[in-house]
């Protein structure tokens, strides 16, 4: 470790920070988009219409069975083909933009399962109690079920987001410049793998560790309220 050269990091910090900014952007986009799409999928799975159930289950099971790296590459290659088919024009998307789309549709499958089990974790007796008080279906959902479900699933949703934040590093497969991709590109040029990869590992560790502690704290707070 004696010749660990901090100046490599200092001279390249701007490029690394750009990469980290992209990683955070993809994470936040996929989190918001994924939770929205995931909620829709979860409600479909819990709906009484079987085609809706089936469609949602197929979507969720499909994305949960394939490796994320494969989806990243497949979407990157197939999305332009599809757009060309739909619009008749060749639209260049680029690796960086394709990742936003991929992560949103991929993470939705994982968020959907979390949201579904959150809703199902509320005992049926609570629904009955809501109706017994004279609430309508939407009142029961809004006032009784969803607040409890959200509390149950919030820590898990956040934990999944930490996983997502780490998984963005897999855009390496299509050469996008995320945090890890930036470090890798510097390594290819300067041949300093020790400094670059260690920096990425340390930064990832510090951020994810802090976030997971925050989730734990939140969990204990929520546990007291219940």
């Amino acid at each position: 470790m004696g010749d660990f050269d901090f100046s490599i990091i200092a001279t390249n910090w701007r490029f690394l920070a750009e990469g980290l900014r992209y990683t955070v952007q993809v994470t936040l986009t996929a989190m918001v988009g994924g939770i929205l799409l995931g909620t829709l999928l979860a409600l479909m799975r819990l709906a009484s219409l079987w085609p809706l159930q089936w469609l949602a289950a197929a979507y969720i099971n499909f994305f949960r069975s394939v490796p994320l790296v494969q989806v990243i590459l497949a979407v990157y290659l197939i999305l332009p083909l599809l757009l060309q088919f739909l619009t008749g024009r060749l639209i260049p998307i680029g690796a960086d933009n394709s990742a936003y789309f991929t992560f949103t549709i991929f993470e939705a499958a994982y968020y959907a399962e979390i949201i579904r089990s959150g809703i199902q974790s509320v005992p049926r007796g609570q629904v009955a109690a809501g109706y017994a008080l004279g609430f309508t279906y939407s009142q029961t959902m809004r006032l009784v079920v969803l607040p409890q479900a959200f509390r149950n699933m919030l820590p898990v949703l956040l934990t999944q987001t930490i996983v997502l934040f780490q998984d963005v590093s897999l855009v390496y497969a299509i050469g996008a410049t995320d945090f890890f991709g930036a470090a890798d590109k510097i390594t290819q040029r300067d041949l300093r793998p020790v400094e670059m990869y260690t920096t990425v590992a340390v930064v990832y560790f510090v951020l994810c560790f802090a976030l997971s502690r925050l989730v734990k704290y939140l969990q204990s707070r929520i546990a007291i309220i219940r």
């Binding site: 394939v66 490796p67 494969q70 083909l81 930490i162 390496y172 560790f205």
Partner: protein, 245 residues
């Protein structure tokens, strides 16, 4: 769509004399080999560290917690790059050279994936043990078992049964995560996928085939664990396991 479908390309000869479908099969073989070996390593590590975290010993708990925190909070691909490109530079020169030249990629990759997965399994094992009632440990001790014997005969057999569903999904995750080892030169399924796309541009056919291949291994793993679950089920106990009261 101006896409030119051609399913027969799988039977064309690639530049190494093999046919493309043989590339797929060889990739599948490596995927299974990497996954199963990593899973075995992960189960050992996960059990050891998971048990450590449930002992009354502060130091063992700290070691177990540190392992889990470190390996859960760094992305897999970064961990693999650390083992492949950073560690050889940090150890003495001769060992570093040996790691770079003579140590098979496979070994480094499965250790990397095993350590990564082990941290997740350690979480499950710990949760399983902690879900048992304190009384089970007491009952073992009261019969004269040593602390280790209470794990061996009482707590672990029940803990494994309880976390088997979670272990099933970890096992399926290993298959998916094994795809990341392409980045350090393992010629597994995803590596072949990337390579075949570069050579043939038949994106859709190969995407369908590789996706199906991953489905098959995931399904087989799922069935295997369902079988284990059925074999190990305890009569009179509700499925999913009720460790204690």
């Amino acid at each position: 769509m101006n896409y030119h479908w051609d399913w027969l390309f799988f039977f064309q000869e690639a530049d190494d004399g093999l046919m493309y479908y043989q590339w797929v099969l060889s990739g599948l073989g490596w995927t299974v080999a990497v996954s199963l070996t990593s899973l075995a390593i992960a189960l050992l590590l996960g059990s050891a560290f998971g048990v450590m975290r449930t002992t009354p010993n502060r130091w063992l708990i700290a070691i177990g917690d540190t392992y889990v925190d470190v390996f859960r909070n760094i992305p897999l691909i970064v961990q693999l790059f650390l083992w492949f490109f950073v560690l050889p530079e940090l150890v003495p020169r001769d060992i570093g050279l040996w790691m770079k030249q003579d140590l098979p990629y496979f070994v480094t990759a499965v250790i990397g994936l095993g350590l990564f997965t082990g941290a997740r399994i350690a979480e499950q094992v710990k949760a399983g043990i902690n879900s048992l009632s304190r009384g089970q440990r007491f009952a073992g001790l009261a019969l004269g078992f040593t602390e280790w014997q209470t794990y061996r005969y009482v707590r672990l057999p029940m803990a494994y049964r309880i976390v088997l569903p979670a272990l099933t999904s970890e096992a399926m995750n290993v298959y998916k995560n094994s795809a990341v080892t392409y980045s350090v030169g393992i010629l597994e399924l995803y590596f072949q996928y990337k390579q075949i796309i570069e050579k043939t541009s038949q994106v859709l056919e190969i995407t369908i085939v590789i996706t199906l291949a991953y489905f098959v291994v995931a399904f087989a793993t799922n069935r295997l664990f369902a079988w284990i679950e059925q074999r190990s089920r305890v009569p009179g106990m509700i499925a999913g396991g009720q460790g204690g009261k």
